[in-house]
């Protein structure tokens, strides 16, 4: 009994000492970034993967130490963010709005470390937290414009997930883009819209897309997350076109994805980290990434798109970048856009 107690005590002492060592290890010369993933895994073909790519680019440019912690489930968020601070990194990234609450909590406990989060703007941003959002309406406008120019049936579809503030950006950006193309071509283009009310129900999304194609649409854009797989599958089976979202989704159906509205999370992660590295004050702010910052866009290679259409889309992109064209992201601004821009 006595022996085991001594043993236990010495193990405890040793583990404390070792733990202490790990905490003190901080190389002050090298900039250090840690990112904590959402639950999709590091190779999720989506934000986690692109964020990690951004950090690897960052490492290749300036030799910063970059590493990631994977969250297997939502309950890992706080633990992982907390673990991320163990090595005193310069900045900790949370990938995705689902980490928002955990990030605020851990940031409050570690006032000396900077935190940044993708796809989240806080009402009140703490001094050591940075929010990053994307102007999805700008990329959605581009794909809407492309859809408007490419449709042969003068009918296109839009499948959203749920009516939320973020989803409005996609919806009204897309609608404005289609309207802009229609005005340019001097014709009417009908947009059929429907919501899945779910981010996961592939069968419902596929059913909705099937309906749209049966009703004469030949291009359908989606912003329905995982449920959107159903839209792309429907395009494949009906031999029509889908437009992907967030990442280049053409790998899912190489012949049936017209283009994708991208969120270049890697660009944002890399450039914010770099600002912080160079000593710029980034805390307490929300950064917004649009076409100008290359935070959103469309892929360069679109084998299914007419090169003429791509050229025109790039001309529009330039107009958006230099501010000639302001893209609506809400119902109100969309209506203004229609009266002020389209009807003139």
């Amino acid at each position: 009994m006595k022996i085991s107690r001594t043993l236990l005590a010495s193990i405890l002492a040793a583990s404390m000492a070792l733990g202490g060592c790990a905490m003190d290890e901080k190389d002050d010369d090298t900039y250090q970034v840690v990112m904590v993933t959402d639950t999709g895994g590091i190779n999720d073909q989506s934000f986690n993967q692109t964020s990690w790519k951004g950090l690897q680019d960052f490492h290749n440019k300036n030799g910063a130490i970059v590493r990631y912690l994977e969250s297997k489930q939502a309950s890992d968020f706080t633990t992982n963010l907390d673990r991320a601070t163990d090595t005193y990194p310069d900045i900790v990234w949370g990938i995705g709005f689902s980490l928002a609450d955990s990030l605020l909590q851990v940031a409050a406990m570690n006032p000396d470390i900077n935190f940044a989060i993708v796809d989240q703007a806080f009402d009140e941003t703490p001094q050591n937290v940075t929010g990053v959002v994307f102007k999805a309406e700008e990329s959605s406008f581009l794909v809407g414009y492309i859809a408007g120019l490419s449709t042969k049936t003068d009918k296109v579809g839009y499948v959203g997930a749920m009516k939320t503030f973020v989803n409005d950006q996609f919806e009204y950006g897309f609608l404005a883009g289609v309207a802009y193309a229609a005005a340019e071509l001097g014709k009417e283009i009908e947009v059929q819209e429907q919501f899945t009310e779910s981010y996961s129900d592939v069968a419902k999304a596929k059913g909705i897309a099937n309906k749209m194609f049966a009703n004469g649409c030949d291009i359908v854009f989606h912003s329905a997350g995982g449920a959107g797989f159903g839209v792309i599958e429907s395009a494949k089976e009906n031999n029509q076109f889908a437009i992907g979202v967030d990442t280049d989704q053409s790998y899912l159906a190489p012949d049936n994805v017209l283009t994708s509205g991208l969120k270049n999370v890697d660009v944002a992660v890399e450039s914010i980290s770099d600002m912080d590295r160079q000593g710029e004050e980034i805390g307490g702010k929300t950064f917004s990434y649009g076409l100008k910052e290359n935070g959103v866009g469309i892929p360069e290679n679109n084998p299914n798109m007419d090169p003429e259409v791509y050229k025109k889309a790039m001309a529009i992109q330039d107009q958006i970048i230099n501010g000639e064209l302001v893209i609506p992201s809400t119902e109100e601004t969309y209506n203004e856009f229609i009266t002020n821009v389209i009807q003139k």
Partner: protein, 305 residues
Amino acid sequence: MLNTITLIIGITMMYATPMAFAALGGVISELSGVTNIGMEGMMTIGAFVGASVGYFSGNPWLGVICAGLSGGALALFHAIASIEFHADQTVSGVALNLIGPAVALFLCRQAFDGSAVTQPVENKLPKLFGPNPDGILGNLNVDMMVVIALILVLIAWFILYHTKWGLRIRAVGENPAAADTLGVNVKLVRYICVILSGFLAGMGGAAVTLSIVAQFSQTSIAGQGYMALAAVIFGRWLPHGAYLACLLFGFAQALTVVLGGGAVAIPTQIIAMLPYLMTILILVLFVGKSNAPKADGVPYIKGRR
């Protein structure tokens, strides 16, 4: 109009089929006296195995078979726990629902480079009328799995109610002691039925990842297993009853698809509630006393009354 009707039929069938496989499995397992609420877990593992075998082998049918086998393997745990060790079958079923998605995700990360999404399969399961038929057939061009589900329901109904094998299964589920005294091997019958239910649920999972879409992701199976469980009870433990219940769920979803998108002036959130409202309404109005197998969920211990 015709377009809308065929569209509703097509979506109903698409939606109902994965659930129908699992529900059929549930019926068989419960008729033999073993409650099986682990369908969701078995579907998830089947969905993953189906998609990944389909991806690596290029043969979707091999994917379906392996999906069934993986579902059956998971069901074997349930069988051992509940038949051999008389464990609480609800607890064991819940465990399956937790283990299934976790194992699927773990294997997915192993096989696909840390990704929680598999790559899309090259060849999906074929369609009834081949690829891209014209006109009216387009909407009715259901997956082969729809046809297979229908055939399996007929076979199950015939075996369960018109053969001595079916009689034995039902006897074991109603009164295992009586069946035992007449020389029926209660344990064996239950083992076979539980494993078969896992096999069917696994196929149901593959019906999602090899015909509705072409890849597995964490959200591929999102509640279909639980809907199947409801269909078993709703369908009064009859194979054709459970199938009709699945069709009803599918029909409700098809209505939300067809009525949504501004076709009628009802907010889309309200329309999305339709399947659930319909289910509750029909349960209250039309389904009377449910007649579960008497020994459903009761472990059989030889010599104990």
